[in-house]
Symmetry: C2
Subunit: 446 residues, 2 copies
Amino acid sequence: MKLWLTTMIAATTIAIGQPAQASKPELNNDLAYKLVESLTVEVGPRLAGSEADARAVAWAEQKFRQLGFDKVWTEPFTMQYWERGNASLRVEAPFNQALVLTALGGSVGTPFDGITSQVVMFDNLQQLQQANPAEVKDKIVFINQTLRKDIRGSFYGQVVGARAQGAVEAAKLGAKAIIIRSVGTSNNRFAHTGIMRYSEDVPRIPAAAISVPDAMQLSKMLAIHPETNLSLHMKNNLPGEVTSHNVIAEITGSKRPDEIVLIGAHIDSWDEGTGALDDGAGVGLVMATAALLKQQKPERTIRVVLFGNEEGGLIGARAYAAHHAAELKNHVFASESDFGAGRIWRFDTGFGEQALAFAAELQQDLKHLGIEAGSNTASGGPDVSVLKAQGVPVASLQQDGTDYFDFHHTPNDTLDKIDPAALQQNLKAWLIMTSKIANSNVDLRK
Amino acid sequence: MKLWLTTMIAATTIAIGQPAQASKPELNNDLAYKLVESLTVEVGPRLAGSEADARAVAWAEQKFRQLGFDKVWTEPFTMQYWERGNASLRVEAPFNQALVLTALGGSVGTPFDGITSQVVMFDNLQQLQQANPAEVKDKIVFINQTLRKDIRGSFYGQVVGARAQGAVEAAKLGAKAIIIRSVGTSNNRFAHTGIMRYSEDVPRIPAAAISVPDAMQLSKMLAIHPETNLSLHMKNNLPGEVTSHNVIAEITGSKRPDEIVLIGAHIDSWDEGTGALDDGAGVGLVMATAALLKQQKPERTIRVVLFGNEEGGLIGARAYAAHHAAELKNHVFASESDFGAGRIWRFDTGFGEQALAFAAELQQDLKHLGIEAGSNTASGGPDVSVLKAQGVPVASLQQDGTDYFDFHHTPNDTLDKIDPAALQQNLKAWLIMTSKIANSNVDLRK
Ligand SMILES: [Zn+2]
Ligand SMILES: [Zn+2]
Ligand SMILES: [Zn+2]
Ligand SMILES: [Zn+2]
């Protein structure tokens, strides 16, 4: 066992759920940071289904054991594997130059000789949907929609449709390919990847994102020379079905071991960054939370679930929900960390009416960390939303996501983007929330 | 002729060299911005010697003519052409993952099968020079030196030696290749290119830079596992001698046409960004300055020189100095803009002693733009320093370079990084300086 793991846990004096004693020595523990550091340095990018994904799963199993969890296991699920190949996008004469692009996850490649065609630009998905097919036929569609910043990432949902559905909508109108402005908020010259979808009855056309500066560049070119042609080459591999795994570990409850408090994150990441913010930080936080609570002997079982293939569309979460269908009634709570590593600013619940007094106590306990009381409409996080749909009570420790989409799903999602102090504030909040729920007998469903 | 060019020049009321009338309408002219926009959008990256370089030269000739310059011509020079090929750098087991790299300009490629070897890390070039050859032999050298930020970019000169000389020093000790931490100040995951050198009597080994986050990543790996192996593949083309051009244009002096006031920038750029900051901004500024001064009928000739192949080592500047050797005595002044597009904060001269009273007047004229009086030790700029060495009086309108090395020589050097307001402040300063010198009869050599 690595020395830093033992030392860290042994040396930590944890004053959890005791905000009245805030004048006592503060939790000063960088276990969450050490874990995300280890995952990103020693494994790095871990695209679901890849060899690196398998190494990440092995890493997690080993770390859970080293951290003294009572049970550690993996659960297999099958998934469609997709792997990025080389890609290039060139503006043809008169403005010959390369644009920075990235394939969207799941996209087919181009024919070997590529696709060379005129571009037609739209402001958003809705405008494309209303286009005259004659304008679009045989062209490369370009959706040039800007993502605005805010603390909640509220605008992501409005813009990401172009990424997810754009290829289907463009292909319906006869387009040969689609490129979108990156669904990102920085003007760094990185393109932003993420999953896209096809539809059974619509031709599968290649889909890619170009960086924000390239989108600005291309729109300026089109203003001068509307007949600009692009040449797109993209090779991706879609080898079919492979097996990946959810990784699960428990601290067994001392009094009510069959009551499960689930805290989760996702173990997979996109392939171009090292998945530090998405979702290495979450992995570090939930692993550290449960490990640090072990010495408290929590009454309920704390189950950490590191979901596989979140990025491909909650594939591991759906497998978990199916596999544990009979047991979901024993899931008294679930929550996920998957919005980077910014400070937690708000606490939302998704509890039953009678449990709102308990929610208010939790809000009070979190207040000294600068965390506002939120609503009772929490999703619990992307993977956990699948459990919420099955009636599991959830909560969301909302992170400040103002800068999240500067880095998310780009090569720039690396360890140096994590502020250790902010991560520690996260860990304190996770410890308070998890400890209180794991030592309570309140039924959050009611 | 493009409408925006004519309109912009005709509509501009310029009150130059009249700071006493600062209450009059301000110069509000975005010709410099429009020019760098046109160059970066319509030509883009323009690596010296490439087809794009030739397009940039043609662009400049055409724009000079459209702007009404009295004379426009090009001067050929020969240069060694170097072209980037595909490159990849992978960490081998147990931490298998790709690192982001870029070939240094001029570097040879690797053998087809790449170079796989253990890494040996040094803090800086000096430490490498003092190393025991047994430590270095057959390894890949990694120089992990950090570049600090400041307004003058003062630290660049201290760090860039690893890039320029590292391959020679590593090869002397038997290394197979060298990688350096990017000579850049941002933690964006871009690697920073730039020219490197070989020495006649030392084996030519491949040289590349990795991004700052990758350098941090690699040093963390080495701390855990000092025997980490890297696998480097790099293909570059070094096809030999080609011809490139300096582009020159003049506004003929109305009273002393044989006295040349030279203002310059460099037309070439590295290949991964669009060369907006380095040196599209400079190109826009000096072209706009001379064009806007034409209506004033300056007494001396204003000669704009867009130097070719600055990046390869002032190749165009040396050709210019050689070709114009007999005429250099008529160069009464020279200055270059080549440090991005930040606000000018200081004015330095390189004049004769008797001309310092005139320098003081200039400092006074620039003061209302927030520009401090500087020293009399200006270089004049990288290309112009070649002319200074031949006795030509120079000055430097020093730009705020605090963020310059966040973008410089990376894919991130794009138009959106230019602040139009800062560029306009630059243009005002260039107009004041150039106008005053072009309408003076002071001998700046004395
Ligand atoms: Zn995520
Ligand atoms: Zn994600
Ligand atoms: Zn330059
Ligand atoms: Zn440069």
